[in-house]
């Protein structure tokens, strides 16, 4: 088994992750990579409460994730690695994490962002970050839930609909 999905989602651990992806993939663990959450017991408790007992959540900084990624990849269960923003995923890719595919799962409306899909809004810096990830040979697409059609990066960046 290994980490099946590398996902960018600004809601972090929530229904789509735990139920939408968690049940069809039989996820056994989630790795949440966020430098602020990794330093806060309270934030970790908040996200830990949201997962069912058969699923574990592990909290890592970017440095911690890079150090422990091979261990997570070797676990016997299916896993999902989660970042709350594109820059964090880009940092993982550029610092050597063996990531072949990135799922843009949810980046919602915020000042400065333009609508691309109903669940993806991007600002110019975020678009550049996604291109930089793709330039490393990583497949990037947008897909909120497994039953949805994956939208390739080129199509995502050309889209104008919210």
């Amino acid at each position: 088994m290994s980490i099946e999905v590398f996902r960018i989602d600004d809601r972090l651990v929530h229904g789509q992750v735990v139920v939408g992806w968690g049940q069809p993939l039989a996820l056994g663990f989630v790795v949440l990579v966020d430098n602020l959450v990794a330093e806060s017991d309270w934030e970790q408790d908040l996200y830990r409460m949201g997962v069912p007992p058969e699923m574990s959540v592990h909290f890592e900084s970017v440095d911690g994730a890079l150090a422990h990624l091979a261990e997570y990849e070797g676990r016997p269960e299916h896993g999902l690695l989660l970042t709350g923003d594109i820059a964090t995923m880009r940092a993982l890719v550029e610092r050597g994490a063996a990531i072949r595919h990135v799922n843009v799962g949810g980046l919602h409306h915020r000042a400065g962002r333009s609508p691309r899909l109903r669940y993806v809004f991007l600002d110019p810096a975020e678009e550049a970050d996604l291109r930089a990830i793709a330039d490393r040979g990583v497949a990037v697409d947008a897909q909120d839930v497994p039953a949805a059609h994956p939208v390739p990066l080129a199509e995502l960046l050309a889209a104008t609909g919210g």
């Binding site: 809601r11 996200y47 919602h108 669940y119």
Partner: protein
Amino acid sequence: MSDGPRAIVAAHGDLAEGLVSAVARVAGAEAAARLMPFSNASLGGAELANAMRQALASSGARVVFTDLPAGSCTIAARRMARELPGLAVVCGANLPMLLAFVMAQPHGPDTLALAVERGRSGIVVAEAGARVD
């Protein structure tokens, strides 16, 4: 009878609107006015918390009902409970629970516990039916 929202119903998609609409059909518009529907649609984690903070401030509600324990609405509501001591957050809201909450007379310290109990007892297998594989 109604003195404005006493609780926020926070849920995915249009569920909160639907639940509050159903409360209005069963208990009347005045009772339903005690509930403020709130959707997480198109909101990221930080924006969701901000929107819920504004909803709590504008309504004065001291209870948040949410749909899914693992959901973003619950995460946001728990953040608010940290900021607002005394705010109650109840996950798994359903129609019997909300009806018990809005119809309790008088509204007292046991109202929430009663509503939760009604919500739990409202989940029954009325007919076992055939096995579904």
